[in-house]
């Protein structure tokens, strides 16, 4: 028999009391990406109040939410997808495809609910196709979704050409233009509810935990008995469904479909996700971060609108923001590590 004492490492402490976690002091909790984002939100908010006296008007604030709500709704499942080390660049084209399908169904006499279901179904199928090709043939997501980005948009152009679908039923306008309570619009309320659902899904459920596991190490996740392919396929399909939902909201809000609808949105959606602290390489991120980032983007865009900044300058700004936000978390983490090292050596 082996003597227990013999095996013990000289440094062994009493391991029976291994704590759940070591809660750092309040400063460590404050030094998080989400906190930094909140500071930016406060700055943007304050700047906007200085730019225009109309900014604080409830209706003007409510109007401002329409500019980002549809993108924000896609950003929720996109955050999960990017955490799981994948990406979908075809979401804007999926919106075009779904919108064209709704426009076509409208000419055949479909009602508002049927139109919404068709939009969501087309989005779901588009997302499933992405996921199926990626997981079945093991092709990188970025390649496949760049392909389907052209493919889906191309189909929309072939069906519609230079034409426009208009004259949606008047009830259909509710999805994108309706108000539920006072200044609270239907689509903004939908976003708030979905954000809560996704927060719970990612942070409290087995599914969310497996998404993190896959994003941190897909091989070890597979070796742990997780069906990695099925999870990835599901995530792509989910993103497709949400692109479909966004298509319903957007089409309803602007009341028409052109094949160029939602052009370039994929980058804005990804910008929101990455700005929210989701690691573009996968494995880390939170819904709270994405939620705050959505508002930051909204406030900044709205502020520039108040200052009558031309659209092209806004897109330059968005481009710079994308580079900045991919760089900042990396520099931020380096700063945190340096801080940790200093505090450790001070002990």
């Amino acid at each position: 028999m082996m003597n227990e004492e013999v095996l013990k490492h000289p440094m062994t402490k009493d391991i029976k009391d291994l704590p759940d976690n070591l809660n750092g002091d309040w400063r460590n909790k404050l030094m998080r990406w989400e906190t930094l984002l909140m500071v930016f939100v406060a700055i943007a908010f304050f700047t906007n109040t200085q730019i225009s006296p109309y900014f604080l008007d409830p209706w003007s604030l409510s109007d401002a939410t329409f500019n980002f709500t549809e993108k924000a709704i896609i950003a929720l499942p996109m955050a999960l997808l990017i955490i799981a080390r994948d990406i979908d660049l075809s979401v804007a084209s999926t919106i075009a495809l779904a919108s064209v399908a709704m426009g076509f169904a409208n000419t055949m006499g479909a009602g508002p609910i049927e139109l919404a279901l068709i939009g969501m179904a087309v989005g779901t199928v588009a997302g499933f196709i992405n996921g199926w090709i990626i997981t079945r043939f093991d092709i990188p997501a970025i390649v496949v979704t760049i392909g389907t980005m052209s493919l889906y948009r191309g189909i929309a152009y072939i069906v519609l050409g230079d034409d426009v679908y208009r004259s949606y039923p008047s009830d259909f306008a509710f999805f994108g233009q309706g108000y539920v309570w006072g200044v609270l619009s239907f689509e903004f309320l939908l976003f708030l509810c979905l954000a809560v659902v996704f927060g719970i899904l990612l942070h409290k459920t087995t599914f969310g935990r497996r998404v993190y596991a896959i994003g941190n190490n897909p091989t070890a996740a597979l070796f742990s008995g997780i069906n990695v392919k099925r999870h990835r396929l599901f995530l792509f399909t989910l993103v497709g469904l949400f692109a479909g939902i966004a298509a319903v909201l957007l089409t309803s809000r602007i009341g028409s479909t052109r094949p160029s609808i939602a052009m370039g949105w994929e980058l804005e959606v990804i910008t929101m996700v990455v700005l929210g602290g989701v690691n573009i390489l996968g494995g880390a991120g939170s819904i709270v971060g994405v939620f705050i980032a959505v508002f930051l983007m909204g406030l900044v865009t709205f502020g520039m609108g108040l200052m009558n900044v031309p659209g092209i300058v806004m897109s330059i700004f968005t481009g710079c923001l994308l580079i900045l936000v991919i760089g900042t978390p990396i520099i931020w983490r380096r700063f945190l590590n340096a801080r940790k090292m200093r505090s450790n050596s001070g002990e």
Binding site: L7, N21, F223
Partner: protein
């Protein structure tokens, strides 16, 4: 005795929160192999990095041929004739063997352009010197792991050096290749080079080393001639106490057949694998690297599809299509590559431990965090995990403790059969003994263990029966009473 070619005096190196080296000393003599021995975390790797100019020491002196020198960068080490063969060589799969050998050390012609003709010639000479039959013009990815390793030796030897550091050079080599390596080490020694040999394995230390130096927790413990000490002395110096047994084989009662495999075959990796696994036994799988052992295990775990054959587990047909199927039926696999396949390094300990059984720790999909921590704490305690908290990321743990997390995560699923693939590869002796002891406890509780190992002492020390594989087939079977090292190695080499 002659003068040391390299001498370290009072070398210290402090990292935030930890004193990695605390006034250590080391002497290397020409024509001698010096073993550097210590548990993981004893400071061996830090010392290598100091010697190769990667870390600058905080204090102390480095003397080469009695003259103090400074090591500021990797180029300084090269200038002073120090070359190192690292544990995991940095190699470039897409480049050719020649390009890899001269990766930061190219020859140039009179126009300042790279002189590939000369380098190819030198590569050929070096490979011949090493007795490696490899075409220097083929890309590295076409080589076996062992050959890649030898190419990294060639790279280290391409610089003319008087001091050669070998950091666990045998970690990924099979028995036969280790013998080849020993020949090489002896030849380098006979040419008058001073060799620093870092190893966890006592058989190799006693086989080829002339001197030893022991570190413990960043401090120098002792040094001297190998001939003057026993293994027990060294172990005592390493851990501060005596490990009476590294292979604590317990007598267990072996029961009925739990699992039987018949004619299992794969299109290219293995064929006709037949064996029975009984309750309470440790079945060893020995073979050379590339004999197909891991592939068989991955087929049992539902990772690799098979072309024919049948399996039974607990009397029921067993045909896992995914690892999830295997886990559900009570068979789990602790993979060889703990950092990539076993643990998710960037997630906390408790999340790693509970990952395979999240479903059981949740209610309608919602994780019960309190139970999660309880399960994690139970297995952390049983395995004597050393960590600051359950929320610490696995990447911060030592190799031995990482392995404990991986074993713990599978035990927590209450399996019947646990497959361990190279369970103690690259972990220190204390953890090694703990893992072995734990395997003994598992079989005592009625589990069945399949242990894949390339370490002969481990196989002979722990297994009740041994199956030897050679080129994808079972070459021999041994019962505990009739296994000898010679017979096992002969079967494994196909001789």
């Amino acid at each position: 005795m002659n003068r040391p070619v390299l001498e370290l005096r009072n070398i210290s190196k402090t990292f935030p929160g930890v004193k990695a080296l605390d006034s250590v000393e080391l002497q290397l003599y020409p024509g001698q192999v010096t073993a550097l021995i210590g548990e993981n975390g004893a400071g061996k790797s830090t010392l290598v990095k100091v010697l190769t100019g990667i870390y600058a020491p905080d204090g102390g002196e480095i003397l080469i041929d009695d003259a103090p020198v400074t090591m500021q960068a990797a180029t300084d080490a090269k200038r002073h004739g120090i070359s190192a063969i690292h544990q995991e060589a940095v190699m470039f799969d897409e480049l050719t063997v020649t390009e890899n050998i001269f990766i930061n050390n190219q020859n140039r012609n009179i126009f300042g352009l790279l002189d590939w003709k000369l380098m190819r010639k030198r590569a050929k000479t070096l490979l011949e010197y090493l007795d490696v039959n490899v075409d220097p013009n083929i890309p590295l990815r076409e080589l076996s792991v062992a050959h890649k390793h030898l190419v990294s030796f060639a790279a280290a030897l391409s610089v003319s050096s008087s001091i050669v550091i070998m950091d666990e050079p045998t970690a990924s080599l099979s028995h036969h290749e280790i013998q080849e390596l020993y020949r090489l080490v002896r030849r380098l020694r006979d040419e008058g080079k001073a060799i620093l040999f870092i190893s966890h394995k006592f058989d190799e230390i006693f086989e080829i080393c002339d001197r030893y130096t022991v570190f413990r927790d960043g401090q120098f413990v002792g040094s001297g001639g190998i001939a003057d000490v026993t293994q027990d002395d060294l172990v005592a110096m390493m851990v501060g106490r005596t490990v009476s047994q590294i292979y604590p084989k317990e007598q267990t009662t072996i029961g009925d057949t739990v699992m039987s495999v018949k004619g299992l075959s794969h299109p290219s990796e293995f064929a006709d694998i037949d064996f029975d696994l009984r309750k309470g036994e440790i079945l060893g799988f020995y073979g050379l690297v590339g004999a197909g052992r891991s592939e068989v295990m991955q087929a049992l775990f539902g990772l690799t599809p098979t072309s024919s054959g049948s399996m039974e587990l607990n009397g029921k047909p067993f045909k896992p299509r995914t690892p999830g199927d295997a886990v559900d039926q009570g068979l789990v696999y602790v993979p060889e590559d703990r950092q990539h396949q076993g643990a998710i390094l960037t997630l906390p300990i408790f999340q790693n431990i509970t990952l395979p059984q999240l479903g059981g720790l949740s209610r309608s999909g919602f994780i019960d965090m309190a139970r999660e921590y309880d399960v994690a704490r139970e297995y952390a305690t049983r395995l004597q995990l050393k960590a600051s908290s359950l929320s610490e990321n696995v990447e911060n743990l030592s190799g031995g403790n990482q392995q404990k997390v991986v074993i713990g995560k599978w035990l927590a699923t209450n399996p019947n059969v646990i497959i361990v693939d190279e369970p103690t590869k690259g972990i220190d002796i204390g953890s090694k003994a703990a893992v072995h002891k734990f395997m003994g406890e598992l079989v005592a509780q009625g589990l069945s263990v399949i242990m894949v190992s390339s370490e002969l002492p481990e196989v002979m020390g722990m297994a009740d029966r041994v199956i030897v594989m050679h080129e994808g087939r079972i070459a021999a079977r041994f019962e505990r009473d009739d296994m000898t090292a010679e017979a096992i190695v002969t079967a494994a080499t196909g001789a």
